[in-house]
Subunit: 348 residues, 2 copies
DNA sequence: TTTTAGCACTCTACTTAAATGAGTGCTAAC
DNA sequence: GTTAGCACTCATTTAAGTAGAGTGCTAAAA
């Protein structure tokens, strides 16, 4: 798509006007801007061209124009000015984040909540997936005679645990015998690479007490599988209700359903940039058809080279991308830093 | 409040009509009912009386009547017929519950979700509070040199755990020394009764290694405090949007805010009946002012004599209390049974 | 060739008025 | 005490008219 400078200026003016007013933009209101010294009639002609090119839409014959999906995309990719956060804003945001984060284990959820109040927009936070982690140690603890806790320590200091309830009692000695075997066989593997074969092998290696061993191992395997589920937080959804595009109850229903189920939101992991950087989705149909009229600004945050989570801002398609992008960039960066600090080996 | 039989019949008819239609009820539509053989004019007179008594309201001068808050209360307490679930319904509900519950630890959340789809109403589930539990054992496990896991086993087979991240490394021996001391001092106490004094006492009793001990003990204390937070689940809130009373965006905002924050919902614990039985709240202002126009049907479910959680159904004040009450009673009962089965000592 | 002023035309949103109808309250008769 | 009848009220719907924002097109100006 190639536009001359004047068309670009006009498109930009229309998009920004529409973003801030939510009303279709007419030629006159653009002509009034002092920085553009063009008559309304000329702008009308240009608008007609932009519409032909698919960048603008006319809700009805005698109304102003609104940006089309393509129009937003072009704006975000080529026209949008970078919003520079003021020193004030930076301080405020930093304060908000730092002063309210209580527990490190819960940091992604908390940052999502705080950032949601900050932006008055819904925020989605996805925990880094555990699956690429290399198992450092696996510990079975006998809690009571029918209950074992599996504690998996992976690299980066990630720790997960799970309770196993058994049908038959086990003894302390059994656990103590099993522990070194499990560790010898599983340490050094990534969680995803541990499969039933490994488990079977261990079973064969031990030989004794087969019946109970197999049920324990089966549960360990289940536990491992469950652990690589990524957790998805969705915070501050009610904020979306302040937008006039959510005057319609069916729209409200749709978006709340997506956020209630959360399953589709997991798809965002594949769409966010791995390392630094921001991705803007104009229309979230690739996440869920119900998000087709939304804009989503995504960022990956990093804990280590091969471990990243996702944090994203959801709004109507008509959202202040420029501002959201800078703020999200900042938050995502702070989050990465905090997590790196937390999970860097030196800190252990 | 004393009503003659005819007034009762009329009030009941009005409430039930309004519950199913959401439209103000006129004298004629009541007069048409064959079981009442009274003319519309008479009914008008009676309606006037019922309005004077504060049981009915007239939205505007020439409209039909709707039940007032008092009207609903009277209906629920004195007029409502018990809804008997059909065999079909019972089978269906049982199937739904049994076939979908995967993990016992998560049962309350899952039952809430399932029951919410079943009733097409929002469900609130509150986990039994841990605070009355008597500590049976407390186990510190060294996960890595900077990380300890506290596992608390209480009576009824309840188990909770928490990670403690330390600033200084600790040794295996230290943990092994601490474990029996902690157990000796804390076992047999209820979680709420464990306070800083106990912790201080232990610290004095040990004496050595004071600095690190105090931070460990401090964290243990924190962990214990955190554990008696009751978890609140709120599932299927979007279901509320199908009611015409939620055509108003501000109403939607209000109720979603309550459910998003969840803090106020914790108040429900004090309002639910302890043992068997159902409590109906007409207007939830005692929970949160934002729920003043809602009806809430509550039930306690029991794990043991002194351990109960809450499950409740939220709807508009105009909801089918009769049906909801029976279904909730049934579900709450099943939940109690399942939990008792799970947490009964014989099963360990 | 490009830009602009002018004007007729279109379409929505708002206002006003009238018609509809559900439902009441009151009165008088049963 | 009950009921039929009737005048009255008020929300809702329908229709018509108006205002206003904005366009597209044409013809003149640059």
């Amino acid at each position: 798509m190639n536009l001359d400078d004047r068309k670009k200026l006009i498109l930009q003016a229309i998009v920004e006007d529409y973003i801030s007013t939510a009303e279709p933009v007419g030629s006159r209101s653009i002509a009034k801007k002092p920085e553009l010294n063009i008559s309304a009639a000329t702008i009308r002609n240009e608008m007609g061209d932009l519409e032909d090119m698919g960048l603008l839409l006319q809700p009805h014959a005698s109304s102003g124009r609104i940006p089309s999906k393509e129009g937003y995309k072009f704006y975000v990719n080529s026209l949008m000015n970078r919003y520079e956060m003021t020193a004030r804003e930076i301080t405020r945001l930093k304060d908000e984040l730092l002063s309210h984060i209580k527990e490190m284990d819960d940091i992604v959820k908390q940052v999502s909540t705080l950032f949601s109040t900050h932006t008055s927009l819904p925020i989605i936070g996805i925990m880094p997936s555990f699956d690429r982690r290399v198992v450092r140690a696996l510990k079975l603890v006998l809690v009571d005679e029918y209950t074992i806790m599996v504690i998996i320590t992976a690299d980066m200091g990630m720790i997960k645990n799970k309770l196993l309830r058994l049908r038959e009692p086990v003894s302390e000695e059994f656990i103590e015998k099993l522990n070194p075997i499990l560790n010898r066989r599983l340490a050094g593997k990534t969680l995803t690479s541990i499969n039933l074969d490994d488990i079977m092998e261990i079973q064969n290696a031990v030989g004794v007490n087969v019946e109970i061993l197999s049920s324990v191992l089966d549960l360990v395997h289940q536990a491992i599988c469950e652990m690589d589920n990524k957790e998805v937080y969705a915070e501050g959804l009610t904020n979306i209700l302040r937008f006039p595009e959510y005057n319609d109850i069916n729209k409200i229903k749709e978006i709340f359903e997506v956020f209630e189920d959360k399953k589709d939101l997991g798809n965002l992991t594949d769409m966010a940039p791995r390392g630094k950087g921001i991705k803007v989705l104009i229309g979230g149909e690739s996440v869920s058809p119900k998000l087709k009229d939304n804009g989503i600004v995504l960022s990956g945050y990093q804990v280590s080279d091969d471990m990243y989570g996702v944090i994203g801002v959801v709004g109507p398609m008509r959202m202040d991308y420029s501002k959201v992008v800078s703020h999200l960039e900042f938050v995502s960066d702070e989050l990465s830093k905090a997590l790196k600090r937390r999970y860097t080996p030196e800190n252990f």
